[in-house]
Amino acid sequence: MNASDPAQTSTASPAGRQAATLELRDVVKLYPGQEEPAVDHLSLEVPAGEICVLVGPSGCGKTTAMRMVNRMVEITDGDILVGGQSVTDRTPYELRREIGYVIQQVGLFPHLTIADNIATVPKLLGWDRDRIAARVEELLQLVQLDPEQTRDRYPAQLSGGQRQRIGVARALATDPPLMLMDEPFGAIDPINRERLQNEFLRLQVELRKTIVFVTHDIDEAIKMGDRIAILKQGGRLAQYAEPAELLMNPADEFVKDFVGNDRALKRLALQRVRDIDLWQAPMVRKGETTASVRQKLEKADVKIPLLVDEDGCPIGWLSDRAYAGEEVKADLRSRAEPTVEMDDILRDALADLLGSELQYGVVVDEQGRATGVLSIELVGQGVHGVAPARTGADALAT
């Protein structure tokens, strides 16, 4: 927290503070005078830079679980580690200053200007005035508000959506390694909520914060979450998984009901394969040299070569043996079946993918030529409604 540290001043960039990992270990919360715990032996690990969504029916303990992280609620049993350090080792207010906090009702200070609202924590930390002013300007731009017009206004002079943006900006003020967001878009009308969600996801691509995001809306959870923790009544974890996984393999009846098969699939039905930024597989022909195949493999998203015929129509996925020698042989690990068409809706495409052994679907154009590859990860990201970051491919490459 050195005021003259230049790395700390420009923090909207990925060069800002490292996101922290978060780990809940067998956390229990029993409110005084209650028979049943509000959170019951909850264990979660959130990797740095990911959004973990806590979702579940009303009263299932989402808010309680979230608020134990910054000690707004004291832990009854178990432990929570932020960046590997137990939160119970820290003074609550010092801990909280390092964790961004956004609530549904925003809770802006009505008597302070927007600039002063955003500057709350920097002031607590004793930043100098120039640094604060620069940071306020930067944050207002980050949340797409005009600094000149907004800075000196009061919260009552802003719309609900603008206030919510200020709430996010305020939470980001010191570039915290971890953010807690309790139904941050809950009070916003559906159209603006959608916009704020998209905006926030774009922001997150840049910021890569570790985020605990509470919602009771499974659609929002699927859209926002890198991982989703579904809680049951009494704060018990029903399932903790990535959205696509959750949609495909609900752990139990509760999750199945909560995810609401048709609701999630409705979302998939809204998008077509052509809306997805597809992966590219190295397309090779019979008789091609293996050197050229290896070269193509390096650049490709999918690390398995796809055998195509003279017209570019897919035949199948090559086995390792197929390109072990000098030339490519037609030795398939599986046939490129079924294929997916550009105009298929994602729901149908997903059904096809689930049936295929590799869980990759070759996408073909009107002429039946291979144009790309659809994966389950891509469908999952398609459900988020954002341009997919190629994390799935990255993961494959490493």
Binding site: M72, R96, Q105, G107, L124, P155, A156, Q157
Partner: protein, 252 residues
Amino acid sequence: MILPLAVVPEFVDAFRYVFVGGESVTGGLQVGGPALIPYLVNHLVLSFVSVAVAVLIAVPLGLYLGHTRRAEFLAVNITNAGRAIPPLALIGFFIAYIGVGFDAFGLVLVLLAIPPILTSTYVATTQIEPDTVDAARGMGLTEGQILRRVEFPLGLPTTFSGIRIATVAVVATATIAPFASVDTLGVPILSPNVHGPAGQLGAAVLVAILTLVISAGLGAVQQAITPRGLKTVAPERRRGLFATLRRRTQTT
């Protein structure tokens, strides 16, 4: 129409008593006019000191009780008790047990002023949006910082309205301070045998005007210290108002 006119000569006398003065009814003593100034000063000093002491006690206490949500019943009960004890009875009690003089009567006024200030501060603090306080705590403000930077400024207008009520009550009640041998503007009112009916009426009117002026002045102060963000109107609402006006002007 006739009745007020009949009173007029008495007001003329009262007016002369206040601004010019004259000899006392008992004779040999200069009363009214410039001789009122020490009474006025005494009256104001006594009132100011009492209110100041009451503020120093009641505002922090009210903030603390409101912040901790402790003793909702207490704040209310103290208030009711305070209101239930008439100052006159208090004075009797004080003169009997503590004695007379500035301090003793000041204490009466302090006790009179505390309940409205305490209640208004308590109410002001508890009425603040819980989300605002939750956000403040969640961002890492200490409890003291929440009190000073959030609850106090946000509650200030309401707190101040309590101070205003207390001040008016104190200024009015300081009129009976002569019972405790403190010479305020109550002297001419309580000793008509010396100051005459003109003195009695003149001083009474003077106290009434003083109270009104102070109340108005504090009202202006209250406006001035209300944080600007609390006075501003949401853009939607403002737009709505203008739209209504425009619509009206268009239709007419």
